[in-house]
């Protein structure tokens, strides 16, 4: 740590300053420890890190997005998350939440970038439009790509918040007019943590930051670059409706008797079986509920291309390029019918074109049969 950062207050000092009790602080610490998938014994480590380490300088950029990630983050179930991790003291630059604006704001970002070179965390919310030289999203006269490249240069690590930054989200849906591009495709040579979801769960977002804070390195990532602690299980694996799935009891339509009984939402399009996220465990809005619990199927918002890979309320496999009504099975049936016709046509043609051959074979056989008779 260089001198500048040592002078920074620690998280615990900020917590105290904000009027939280030690008890609140420890609650927060144990919650975070559980969320990031650590053992009980690590509570001490997390607490110590928050007590002793100076706050992490954070630059939070907004590109093509709807700000639902920020919204989710500030509504994270524990108030300390919003107050401390995201409060203006922690965030050196974020367009939507900082007090400064205009030149001042740009200056704040510059200062952080030079002062904490190689130390700050770069959080990116939103995708980067690459079409038309990036004019679709420009801030302060610079294109998103320029801003991203400048900020990424001195970042210790990059967090791609949400589906926009992780995989492009809806603005990258075909035909992707602005060429919306996720962060990992643009930044090379820096660790990029993807935290997909539209939005991602607030606690997950906080958990990623606390992990980095505690251990000074990024959490373990899966093959798609997502933190394993939150994205290694499918929504389906922790779904409380799973017994109905296994039993074969499904909601057939949204207003039927089965829906009232709380059966599995598979047949109304639930993507839980293909979606890796922690919704079933952490839930939303202070652990109140999550889509499936409220009777709505999972739409797979944290999965790449969920907007193009089939319809939201059906599980049928779609067939891109064959029109909106084409499902794999419809096309299969059409192919089946075509094959049937082709086979029938071939059978008829065989009898016509190979008449002589078949006739000779039959004659040959009949001859033998006759001879047996005589």
């Amino acid at each position: 740590m260089n001198d500048a950062s040592v002078k920074q207050p620690t998280y615990y000092e900020e917590v105290e300053r904000k009027g939280y009790s030690r008890r609140d602080f420890m609650k927060f610490v144990s919650m975070m420890t559980a969320f990031i998938g650590l053992e009980n014994s690590a509570i001490g480590d997390v607490a110590k890190a928050l007590e002793t380490k100076p706050r992490l300088p954070v630059i939070w950029l907004h590109f093509q997005e709807c700000t639902c990630c920020s919204e989710s983050f500030i509504r994270s179930s524990h108030p300390i998350v919003a107050d401390i991790l995201l409060d203006k003291i922690s965030l050196d630059y974020t367009e939507t939440l900082m007090a400064a604006s205009g030149v001042q704001a740009e200056q704040a970002m510059k200062n952080t970038m030079t002062k904490y070179k190689g130390q700050y965390i770069l959080c990116v919310e939103g995708s980067v439009p690459m079409a038309a030289d990036g004019v679709y999203c420009m801030i302060g006269g610079k294109t998103s790509l320029q801003i991203l490249e400048e900020a990424a240069e001195g970042a210790a690590a990059i967090i791609a918040w949400g589906s926009c930054a992780s995989n492009g989200c809806v603005q990258a849906a075909k035909p992707n007019p602005t060429a919306a591009t996720p962060i990992h495709k643009l930044v090379k040579g820096k660790p990029v943590i993807k935290v997909p979801g539209c939005p991602p769960i607030g606690e997950v977002m906080a958990g990623v930051i606390v992990h980095y804070l505690t251990f000074g390195r990024i959490p373990e990532l899966d093959k798609l670059g997502r933190p394993k602690a939150f994205y290694s299980k499918r929504v389906h694996d922790s779904c409380y409706r799973r017994p109905f799935y296994d039993a074969g009891l499904f909601v057939e339509s949204f207003d039927d008797e089965n829906a009232k009984k709380g059966y599995c939402l598979y047949k109304v399009g639930c993507k839980g079986p293909s979606t890796y996220n922690a919704c079933g465990v952490m839930k939303w809005n202070n652990g109140t509920s999550y889509p499936i619990q409220s009777g709505h199927p999972c739409i797979g918002c944290s999965e790449e291309n969920y907007w193009d890979n089939g319809r939201l309320y059906e599980r049928a496999s779609s067939f891109a390029g064959f029109g909106i009504e084409a499902t794999a099975d419809n096309i299969g049936k059409a192919a089946l019918a075509a094959t049937g016709v082709a086979v029938a046509a071939h059978a008829i043609a065989t009898n016509v074109r190979k008449k002589k051959l078949i006739f000779e074979l039959e004659k040959e056989g009949q001859k033998s049969e006759k001879e047996l008779e005589s």
Binding site: N167, D222, K223, L224, K233, R234, D237, P243, F244, Y245, D246, A247, G248, L249, F250, E252, Y266, K267, K271, P273, S274, T275, Y276, G300, E303, E304, N305, Y306, N309, G310, R315, A316, S317, S318, F319, A328, D329, I331, G332, A335, L336, T339, G340, V343, H346, A347, A349, T350, R353, K354, L357, I358, E360, L361, K363, E364, G365, K367, S368, E371
Partner: protein
């Protein structure tokens, strides 16, 4: 006496499909049927009319169980078949399937002309697979690969065994489980269409050649005309060195 048999072919019994090939074939039939039926169910389960409690049933669970068991058999059966392509007889040899020689393509083109476009000319009389059939089976090998990669890739996340975990990289290659599952679903249709054409063509060859094509997958024999046998000991593509 000799005039009497002038038009009657002298047939030679050739052992074409060895027992392991036949076992592989029929096991594959059973397993593929099971996979397709359970696969359709898993993709779009039927509505149940029963008043039994959820805890008393396991319908989807059983369908999936059968699907997974069948998938394992399908996989290892196919692996065995690939192995047999190296140690089995010449009709089982991998050279019958992989189009890598000019001769192979030539024969394929000939089969297309004679059996599909039905042009006039000397009939194509092969003993094992003709080149076109061999190539089609090569496509089934590829479909097998696709199904095993995507299937076990999807299965990896719910398995604790190391074997399916070997395939965990597959969904990330395609960009997630949703698309992987769709590829798995589309590829199934290949097997359905293949089965129809395959069964039809077996009928066809039995009908126009009269050499016991239908029963060959039962006993392993085909009956080959002596003159075909003499003319070309081995008409199928890419003869191995043990073919004279």
């Amino acid at each position: 006496m000799s005039t009497k048999y002038l038009h009657v072919h002298k047939l030679r019994r050739v052992y074409v499909w060895e027992k392991p090939v036949r076992i592989y074939h029929w096991l594959n039939v059973v397993v593929l049927l099971a996979l397709i039926i359970t696969g359709f169910y898993i993709g779009n389960p039927l509505a149940q009319l029963s008043t039994k409690e959820a805890s008393d049933r396991y319908t989807m669970g059983w369908f999936r169980y059968v699907h997974f068991v069948a998938a394992y058999i399908f996989f290892f059966n196919f692996l065995f078949r690939i192995y047999w392509g190296f140690v089995g007889n010449k009709y089982a040899n991998w050279r019958q399937f992989v189009p890598f020689s000019k001769k192979f393509y030539k024969e394929m083109w000939y089969v297309i002309r004679m059996d599909i476009l039905m042009l006039k000319g000397r009939e194509h009389m092969s003993i094992g697979h003709n080149a076109m059939a061999g190539f089609t089976y090569f496509l089934t090998f590829l479909a097998f690969l696709v199904q095993c990669l995507t299937g076990f890739g999807l299965y990896a996340a719910m398995s604790t065994w190391w074997f399916p975990k070997l395939f965990a990289w597959v969904p990330s290659l395609f960009g997630g489980d949703i698309i992987t599952r769709q590829i798995h679903h589309w590829a199934m249709w290949f097997f359905i269409l293949f089965a129809i054409v395959h069964v039809y063509l077996v009928f066809y060859h039995d009908y126009v050649e009269g050499r016991g094509e239908m029963s060959s997958m039962g006993g392993g024999w085909k009956f080959i005309e002596e003159e075909v046998f003499e003319r070309n000991h081995h008409q199928t593509p890419n003869p191995t060195k043990d073919t004279k």
